[in-house]
């Protein structure tokens, strides 16, 4: 195997491995988003004023 072959192989596999590792890390560590629904505390019922 020539040095150029080594470079191509290591770069190709390295880039793909880095990308898949980054993506999986982000997917597994970031909580999935939930629908933005208004919680009861966000709703101003205007019945708390004196």
């Amino acid at each position: 195997m020539t040095p150029a072959g080594w470079i191509v192989m290591v770069l190709s596999c390295g880039v793909v491995l880095a990308l898949v590792a980054f993506c999986l890390y982000r997917v597994l560590t970031t909580p999935a988003s939930t629908e933005h629904m208004h919680a009861p505390l966000d709703i101003d019922t205007r019945d708390t004023e004196e």
């Binding site: 898949v20 970031t30 999935a32």
Partner: protein, 552 residues
């Protein structure tokens, strides 16, 4: 009148959802990872200059593969949020026009048409795995010609109807098994069937792939060795940049190289199949698509570059030598997978075990793909015609069984299978992907698409990608498609003209089947559109505006 927006007033529209985020990523990755990752990619790379091939390959991934993937995820989720899981419905909300839904019909014909022959190849993989496990395939020794004639008998290449005469053939038994397994899983539904299966099958596939990779990289030199062959040389055959006249970089000026690389990226990521569109439609409106889409694509690339690139061609070179790895063997997945590699396992220590493992891995890759091909049509039959799960599965089972039987019967030279693959598995995919990119870039609008992708995104997509989607991808896609048509369609027509009359009749019959499928789904889409209009589900501009407001 019912609103088309994803509000709680329309609970009937929200039918199925994915169980988990990792589940949908594994399902999409499973759909993309197929035989092409392990057989087509390494063969193409070895033919087209080894390491040189990787340059147009990665460029195509960046400007064609990933942008189109994101487009499909985005419009799929958008369509799902508007209450549609099937491509005719999704296309109708993207482009409220009388004809848009018929483009969506293409996204039904493609997966169903491909399933008709793909499930047969899937059955071969399982049968070969079984035959290795039971030792039956070790009887041919090291003779490539022996495996070639075995394969030709196994699939009935000698004559039409060969498999249906006389004794029950092994390939048919496995076809029935695989066919039934696919429909049982699809009947169980999205989360319980497809997602649960892929959650186990994809990690298992990766594990088996890694075991095979370690085995290949630790092989050293075969016993007895072909003169001067070792694993270093074998990897060099795959990865060393090569070119005519000793200048590897000159190969980059060859349009064939770019065509092959772009085509591989395109087919490998399963863009243009209508599957990602359907899968993404089951996401919730705020679910991330940017990171999920990139993760599924990168998993596919891992299987292709790291597993396919390091296993298939190096191991074939190591045991067979360069003489047996000519263009004819490397250029066709079936020759490499089912004729050359069995001779490799016969020469490898513990070859019976690793042969079984290899074909089992191919089977897993194939079944996770074939499952995804059924879901778009099931979704359409359910939401378009109001069919129940059982009835829609039964209808699709009948359609694919009839098509599958035709492919099995017209087995001479695999002409029937080849015709389906050429038109449905290649030409139609190019057409659908081009329609999707133009629709998003020029009809739906880049600004709306960008907003849609950003909703819930856990990854910032660089702005340049939208410029690529609008200008570069359509031009690149059209250029590649035109060049591909210019090179392949006249040659295909000449080939058909020069065929014997029996073979020509097979091609015509398969073309008739494809046309029939298109008419059938076109008619069903027409019926579905009338039903949706009756129910007030087809989006006029007012409904679309209201649904946009509801979402923001």
């Amino acid at each position: 009148m019912a609103s088309a927006s994803p509000t709680r007033e329309t609970p009937a529209l929200a039918k199925e959802n994915w169980g988990s985020r990792l589940g949908v990523i594994l399902a999409v990755a499973g759909s993309a990872v197929g035989l092409g990752n392990f057989l087509r990619f390494p063969g193409l790379a070895a033919i087209h200059g080894g390491g040189v091939f990787m340059i147009p390959y990665f460029i195509s991934l960046l400007i064609l593969g990933i942008p189109i993937c994101w487009v499909e995820w985005t419009i799929g989720r958008y369509g799902g949020a508007q209450g549609f899981n099937s491509s005719p419905g999704i296309f109708s909300v993207l482009w409220p026009n009388r004809i848009s839904k018929y483009f969506g019909a293409l996204a039904l014909v493609i997966p169903v048409g491909i399933y008709i022959y793909y499930v047969y190849i899937e059955a071969w993989c399982l049968a070969y795995a079984w035959d290795y496990a039971s030792g039956r395939l070790m009887t041919y020794g090291r003779d490539v010609a022996g495996y070639k004639s075995h394969f030709e008998r196994f699939v009935g290449m000698e004559a039409n109807g060969f498999l249906l005469h006389g004794n029950v053939q092994e390939s048919l038994i496995f076809l029935v098994i695989v066919f039934v397994v696919n429909f049982i899983l699809i009947y169980r539904g999205l989360a319980k069937g497809i997602e649960t299966f892929c959650t186990f099958a994809m990690p298992l596939l990766l594990l088996v792939g890694l075991v095979l990779l370690v085995r290949v990289l630790t092989l050293g030199a075969p016993e007895p060795p072909p003169p001067g062959e070792n694993i270093g040389k074998a990897l060099g055959f795959m990865w060393n940049p090569r070119g005519e006249g000793g200048d590897p970089w000159k190969a980059l000026t060859n349009p064939e190289l770019w065509l092959a690389a772009a085509g591989q990226i395109f087919f490998s990521l399963s863009v243009g199949f209508g599957i990602i569109l359907n899968y993404a439609s089951y996401l919730r409106p705020d679910d991330d698509v940017a990171l999920s889409g990139l993760t599924a694509s990168s998993m596919n690339e891992f299987c292709e570059v790291c597993l396919g690139g390091l296993i298939t061609v190096p191991v074939a070179f190591l045991f067979l030598g360069p003489a047996d790895l000519n263009k004819d063997v490397l250029g066709t997945s079936l020759s490499l997978g089912f004729m050359a590699l069995p001779a490799v396992f016969a020469r490898m220590p513990a070859g019976q075990f690793f042969g079984a493992l290899w074909f089992f891995m191919l089977f897993l890759a194939a079944i996770t793909s074939s499952l995804s091909m059924l879901q778009p049509a099931i979704a359409f039959l359910e939401e378009g015609l109001g069919m129940g799960r059982r009835f829609s599965v039964a209808c699709l089972g009948l359609i694919t069984a009839i098509g599958g039987l035709l492919v099995v019967y017209f087995s001479k030279g695999l002409i029937g299978l080849d015709t389906m693959d050429f038109w449905v598995g290649t030409v139609f995919i190019f057409v659908l992907a081009t329609v999707q990119v133009i629709l998003v870039g020029w009809v739906f609008g880049i600004d709306r698409a960008r907003e849609e992708l950003r909703r819930g995104a856990q990854l910032e997509v660089p702005g340049i990608f939208w410029w690529i989607v609008k200008y570069v991808s359509p031009v690149y896609l059209l250029a590649i498609f035109s060049l591909w048509c210019y090179r392949n369609i006249p040659a295909k027509c000449r080939e058909v003209r020069n065929m014997e009359s029996e073979d020509r009749a097979t091609v015509i019959l398969m073309l008739a089947l494809i046309v029939l499928l298109m008419l059938f789904f076109g008619l069903l889409v027409n019926l579905a559109a009338k039903r949706w209009a009756r129910l007030g589900r087809l989006p006029g501009p007012a409904i679309r505006e209201r649904s946009e407001q509801n979402r923001t």
